[in-house]
Symmetry: C2
Subunit: 142 residues, 2 copies
DNA sequence: TTTACACCCTCTAGCCACTGTAGGTTCAAG
DNA sequence: CTTGAACCTACAGTGGCTAGAGGGTGTAAA
């Protein structure tokens, strides 16, 4: 039986995060010691590892919920899990494309800055005059 | 004189976002009509455009605050603006590298999934068994 | 057995950068 | 003068945690 701290160490998760996952129903309520402290077994360890790994791959907690549910029902079709992963892959690719554009623009700004006063700063100038910009308008958060 | 809605349209910003920027001190309090509605001039338009453009390049609001401050003081050295931009570029590059790894891993998962039941689903299997994973442990949010 | 101390508990608030809603007021056109 | 779109304030909610206050538990040594 593991304490929450041990589980945290084993999975590279913060203690608070584990409690948070429990709170939002991503992890089941574990057993407790006589004094009311959480005690975990191997199944919880596996489940949390699954969650963390999926998080590392950028899946949202909602997507992970679906994946866990699929994982709990071995007779269900694989197609859904596949679809979730494909969706995630697509998102990652979109974000990469977006970042690629940002990188180009930032490189341009930085390379052209010759280090005088801010009055002639290329960085600020580019920010001021959007028409010089190559990136598109939408998807600020992407 | 522009209403907040017109300013919003011209800059591709939501009305609430403009009010939010004002609230956190990123934009100055504008003049008001007799009835108390916000009225904007060209300087506010420029400033908001600057902010939006910087946001599109992924700068944080704090970084933008610094950039605006530098832009307001033309006699200051350009070096600081340059440093902020370089920092941002570095962040973008790090995020790209991270996404690159995610993409590889996700592609592997998806390509290997042959579409049976979840019991043998490659996607879920990879998530379950972290040892098969190529991505590193840290930086979940990157 | 007591005491020290690391660890655990709940509850609440905060982070970023918005976004949405409720309930009311103002403005401009017709 | 009426209509209706656009405006106002104030506050709650998003995702995915993270931090802190104020207290209780578990265990090993003195």
């Amino acid at each position: 039986m593991l304490t929450i701290g041990t589980l945290a160490k084993k999975t590279g998760t913060k203690v608070q995060t584990i409690r948070y996952y429990e709170q939002i129903g991503l992890l089941p309520e574990p057993g407790r010691s006589a004094g009311g402290q959480r005690r975990y077994g191997d199944s919880e360890l596996d489940r949390l590892s699954f969650v963390r790994h999926a998080r590392q791959l950028g899946f949202s907690l909602d997507a992970i919920r679906e994946l866990l549910d699929l994982s709990d029902h071995p007779e269900k079709s694989c197609a859904e899990a596949d679809a979730i992963a494909r969706r995630q892959l697509k998102q990652v690719e979109q974000r990469m494309a977006r970042l690629e554009a940002l990188r180009t623009e930032l490189q341009r700004m930085v390379h052209e800055c010759s280090g005088g006063h801010t009055a002639d700063c290329r960085v600020l100038e580019v920010l001021r005059d959007h028409s010089e910009c190559l990136t598109d308008h939408d998807e600020i958060g992407a």
